[in-house]
């Protein structure tokens, strides 16, 4: 039985006067969060930022004048949600995809070019060592190429059977499975190569060298049987894309490792998160490349048995990638976003 004598506290009045606004904001927010922004009326769209600011100012008044914890907690969580909904809103998926292909991806590749060279050097170094060692003593092959991967392709196999592997199309059955498997396997290796860069580059370098040794061992084995040219075609049809992608994943890993080990003028954490953004972009691209590589390896290589055609496709893909990534162009047409984020990094 509330009596008339009851004094209403100022903080209570404050709350009662604004309660409706807060509830409205809450309702609008749940619609926005559920992705139903389009269903909001124009009036509601205009009200949203106004209500957000009003609630924000209510929060700061409440913090200064109210001792009701529940109101402050409520306003804090409400404004935080509103803040993320209003300032964190993303541009549409379509625009983001366009921006990724026209600008973000090639620009990230250009930022990574030094690391890409380093990564390629490690891989090639591994390949050369593997090649030379296996040429001199085929037994090395067993140390470089894991048994599961080698299958029948070992120094013990006859030249004839080694040759048949290159042109055997497995009866063109199960190519879809093969392509899907290759894609998912390679993508995981690439993601691992990238993620390991976090530990100051070292595991990434090891992984690159090991991949190189495997590749070199393979080449050495085939070259020692005079099948070098044929293997080149077999490898290059998908390998130019796949190996390039792995080099890029390694580069992204090196970039991050470098940013953590030598942050330069930035703080270590800032430097890491800047590198992570670029690396993340690069990796999204790597996955796309590996998807193509999977198709080329699963279908193209199995269905095309002519050496020069394999070479032509491989080199063609390589030149497309190189042109796409490295031809200098003016990215500033799509600017704004990148620039602001770069400034805030400093």
């Amino acid at each position: 039985m509330p009596s008339n004598l009851q004094l209403t506290l100022k903080s209570q009045r404050f709350r009662d006067e604004r309660k409706e606004d807060w509830r409205t904001l809450e309702r609008l927010l749940s619609q926005v969060e559920a992705g139903r922004t389009r269903q909001l009326s124009d009036a509601d769209m205009l009200r949203l930022p106004r209500l957000y600011r009003a609630t924000l100012s209510a929060l700061s008044v409440a913090r200064a004048t109210s001792l009701d914890q529940s109101v402050i907690a409520y306003l804090e969580s409400l404004t935080t949600r509103a803040y993320y909904a209003i300032y964190g809103s993303q541009i549409g998926l379509g625009k983001r995809i366009v921006k990724f292909f026209t600008r973000d991806w090639p620009e990230a590749m250009q930022t990574l070019s030094r690391d890409t060279i380093a990564s390629a050097v490690f891989l090639i170094l591994g390949t050369c060592v593997g090649y030379v060692l296996v040429m001199n003593n085929p037994d090395w092959y067993y140390s470089f190429v894991p048994q599961g991967l080698a299958g029948e392709r070992t120094p013990a196999a006859s030249t004839q059977s080694l040759r048949s592997v290159l042109y055997d199309n497995n009866g063109a059955d199960g190519l879809g499975i093969f392509a899907a498997f290759l894609f998912s396997h390679n993508s995981r290796v690439a993601i691992l190569c990238f993620a390991l860069g976090f530990a100051f580059c070292i595991p990434t370098i090891v992984l690159l060298l090991m991949t190189g040794l495997m590749l070199g061992g393979f080449m050495g084995l085939y070259a020692s049987r005079d099948l070098g040219f044929e293997l080149g075609g077999w490898l290059s049809i998908h390998g130019t894309t796949e190996i390039f992608a792995i080099i890029l994943a390694g580069a992204a890993g090196l970039f991050i490792g470098r940013a953590i080990a030598f942050p330069g003028e930035r703080s270590r954490i800032e430097s890491a998160s800047y590198a992570g953004q670029i690396g993340g972009l690069a990796m999204a691209g790597v996955i796309i490349m590996l998807f193509f590589a999977g198709l080329l390896e699963g279908y193209g290589r199995q269905l095309i048995n002519v050496d020069w055609l394999r070479y032509a496709i491989g080199l063609g893909m390589l030149s497309i990638w190189l042109a796409y990534f490295y031809i200098p162009r003016d990215f500033s047409r799509f600017d704004i976003d990148m620039n602001t984020s770069k400034i805030s990094q400093k």
């Binding site: 004598l5 509830r23 992705g35 009701d68 109101v71 993320y84 800047y274 992570g276 953004q277």
Partner: protein, 285 residues
């Protein structure tokens, strides 16, 4: 009651309007809970789709396509489940939504897709790598030892969030993100407007009201909201003793406490308007 003591979880987040929202970091329990839920969902989805594909594959004879789809689906589920949901509007996987937490960019309002990608790519070494080592750690000989060493090494990443104050995963560190709480805002009833039986009877003297400060007021608020009769009785007895209040026969503890809460809050808020925040009962202002 821990609301009073949880300030170590708070991080400053200043809006463009210049107000610090003081976001709360998600605690480790919620993060582990969310991850567990997500894994359960992933496993359930995986089996559901696998059985559906097997069923379709057998019935339509398109076994090859079914297997290829299965491999792709498994890969996408493992690598992109987290990314897909965290790139969404709520920046949270279903598990995170249930635990009422979300991913947010540190110091920036917008969580970019690249950040989400980088954050989740690192899951591969934080979670799946230890899992892989764990699976092979049982094998005998040198391989087993190598796996054990690998497991120890990769556990550094797994337990990374426990060893830094912002509870960042390695992925969060790289991506410039962190995980914050987003509780559903619930506007609880204002205790000062509670219906009190016999309000007129509770007329406190200024000395009686002056007995406590803000800290005690907040504890009292928590007690009143929890409504645990034992605690209410205890607290009421203690306050009565402290302020020298004689309990009349019909006076219920909760009414007494609510009335005292209203009076105390009114008093302290008036002081607050004059610029004095009396922290606790030892603060002589």
């Amino acid at each position: 009651m821990n609301r009073n003591f949880s300030d170590i979880d708070r991080r400053s987040l200043v809006t463009p309007e210049g107000i610090d929202l003081r976001v709360k970091l998600a605690d480790i329990g919620a993060r582990i809970g969310a991850m567990t839920l997500d894994l359960l969902i992933i496993i359930a989805m995986f089996f559901a789709v696998v059985f559906a594909l097997i069923y379709l594959g057998i019935n339509t004879g398109a076994g090859e396509a079914a297997i290829a789809l299965m491999i792709l689906f498994a890969f996408f589920l493992r690598s992109f489940y987290f990314m897909f949901f965290e790139m969404g509007r709520r920046a949270a996987t279903p598990g995170k939504r249930i635990m009422k937490i979300r991913v947010a960019a540190r110091g920036k309002p917008r969580l970019s897709a690249n950040a989400v990608f980088a954050r989740n790519a690192l899951r591969e070494i934080e979670f799946f790598l230890p899992l892989g080592f764990l699976a092979s750690a049982g094998s005998a000989g040198v391989d087993g030892w190598m796996s054990a060493l690998g497991l120890i090494w990769s556990c550094i990443f797994l337990f990374f969030p426990l060893f830094n104050k912002d509870r960042l995963r390695a992925g969060d560190l790289i991506a410039g993100t962190w995980v914050v709480q987003t509780p559903r805002p619930i506007l609880a009833q204002d205790l000062a407007s509670a219906d009190i039986i016999g309000r007129d009877r509770f007329a406190f003297t200024p000395q009686q009201i002056e007995a406590y400060g803000v800290k005690e007021l907040h504890v009292l608020e928590d007690v009143l909201r929890a409504k645990d009769s034992e605690t209410l009785k205890d607290v009421a007895a203690r306050i009565r003793k402290k302020i020298g209040w004689v309990q009349s026969g019909a006076e219920a503890d909760i009414d007494f406490l609510s009335a005292y809460y209203g009076a105390l809050r009114g008093r302290l808020e008036t002081k607050l308007l004059l610029g004095v925040r009396r922290r606790d009962k030892f603060d002589k202002r």
